[in-house]
């Protein structure tokens, strides 16, 4: 089957972000989504450190130490963008003003619980940042992650074994194998990659799946 690579996953997510959406892209893999947003769509990127209308990375040599994204990488501000303080920035997130946030994950449960902040290892230094705020605040929470861990365990699970970030907060999962909605009636497979059949996807996933009536048989990035 044509498993998507990480850039293809980002490209696939980008397709689902409509013009005019207010969007926060989490640190790590989700940041790549910005590279695939169509230039002809005006989309408003929010960064929790106080930016709305965040633009691409600056040209080399033009970096500004006071113009960074949440991952502390240099960025720019588009014309029409704005700066604000942390109180206002998190009001945007927690007050339901963002349309979409895209987050990475260790695990997502059948009920939409998200685990992405802590491995639970006893000696790990915990760090949460804005993950829990994003998880509960945006109108739609998209998760992008590999379907299987490096050990071959599915990251979609009946119940999270890692400490959770938020309860029942995930709306849609994008993996390297499929696009899956979390609904009141369970997990609904919207798309699968070319060469993967539903039975095989279900075999890999320890949670009951339903194939959407209108499901695409191919994830096209």
């Amino acid at each position: 089957m044509n498993r998507l690579n990480r850039n293809q996953m980002a490209e696939r997510v980008a397709q689902d972000i409509p013009e005019g959406a207010y969007v926060n892209l989490g640190i790590g893999l989700p940041t790549k989504v910005a590279n695939y947003l169509p230039a002809d769509r005006e989309i408003f990127l929010h960064s929790e450190n106080g930016l709305l209308g965040m633009g691409p990375a600056p040209a080399p040599g033009m970096e500004d130490p006071e113009l960074m994204n949440a991952g502390k990488e240099p960025v720019t501000l588009l014309q029409g963008g704005a700066f604000f303080h942390h109180g206002d920035s998190f009001a945007m997130m927690r007050g339901g003003h963002l349309d979409i946030c895209v987050l990475g994950a260790f695990q997502v449960s059948a009920g939409g619980d998200l685990a992405n902040w802590h491995t639970g290892a006893a000696d790990a230094i915990p760090a949460v940042g804005g993950a829990m705020d994003l998880a509960i605040g945006a109108k739609q929470v998209f998760v992008m992650m590999e379907h299987l861990s490096k050990n071959g365990e599915c990251k979609i699970v009946p119940h999270c074994s890692y400490p959770v970030t938020g309860i029942g907060c995930v709306d849609r999962i994008y993996t390297d194998l499929a696009v899956i909605d979390i609904t009141a009636h369970g997990l609904l497979v919207r798309e699968m990659v070319d060469g993967l059949d539903f039975a095989e996807l279900q075999r890999l996933t320890p949670v009951p799946l339903t194939l959407a009536a209108a499901a695409a048989t191919t994830v096209t990035a």
Binding site: G53, G80, M93, R94, G95
Partner: protein, 228 residues
Amino acid sequence: MIDKTVSSLEEAVAGIFDGATVMIGGFGIAGQPAELIDALIAHGARDLTIVNNNAGNGEIGLAALLKARRVKKIICSFPRQADSQVFDALYHAGEIELELVPQGNLAARIQAAGAGLGAIYTPTGYGTLLAEGKETREIDGKHYVLEYPIRADFALIKAFRGDRWGNLVYRKAARNFGPIMAAAATVTIAQVGEVVPLGVLDPESIVTPGIFVQRVVAVPGLAQARVA
């Protein structure tokens, strides 16, 4: 291309439904979106719940909306004024419901709605008539009253300048409730003295970022024009 500007006041207030909760900016007439209120009167929605600091002055703006019998309830801090005769008459006739809220609690409850808080313990009103029947709590030796967010379906506000993304700046004391109401309503409609091209507003000085604003309509006016 995203363009939140609309070309008429009629279009600006489209969709305001009977029974809606509508926040209206302004402290007295400063910051009161008088032309949007007139458009709302023409639009015809009724049984509205209005959130404003006052309950109308004279016979214009909010007072005119009250006079047209479109308001079933008003949530405000200071209804009684020298020229609040329209409200006064409706109130004495039992034809309007009043929820009186201390001004700071009004602001804080509107902010709580915009920020996604479930409730807040506020110091104001403890031990007074306005906290009767409300839950209270002593925290670190001080007394607080539990108050809930005030959300709205629509907010009508007045700003000085806006752009097509909905970014707003205000003018002097007309700012008052505008920024906090913008964040607390599902649909925020701003009348602005001038729509400027994207990028004209300084990103350091934008008071209301466009994420909080859904519609912008230009209403050139005297107060705005006076500014350098």
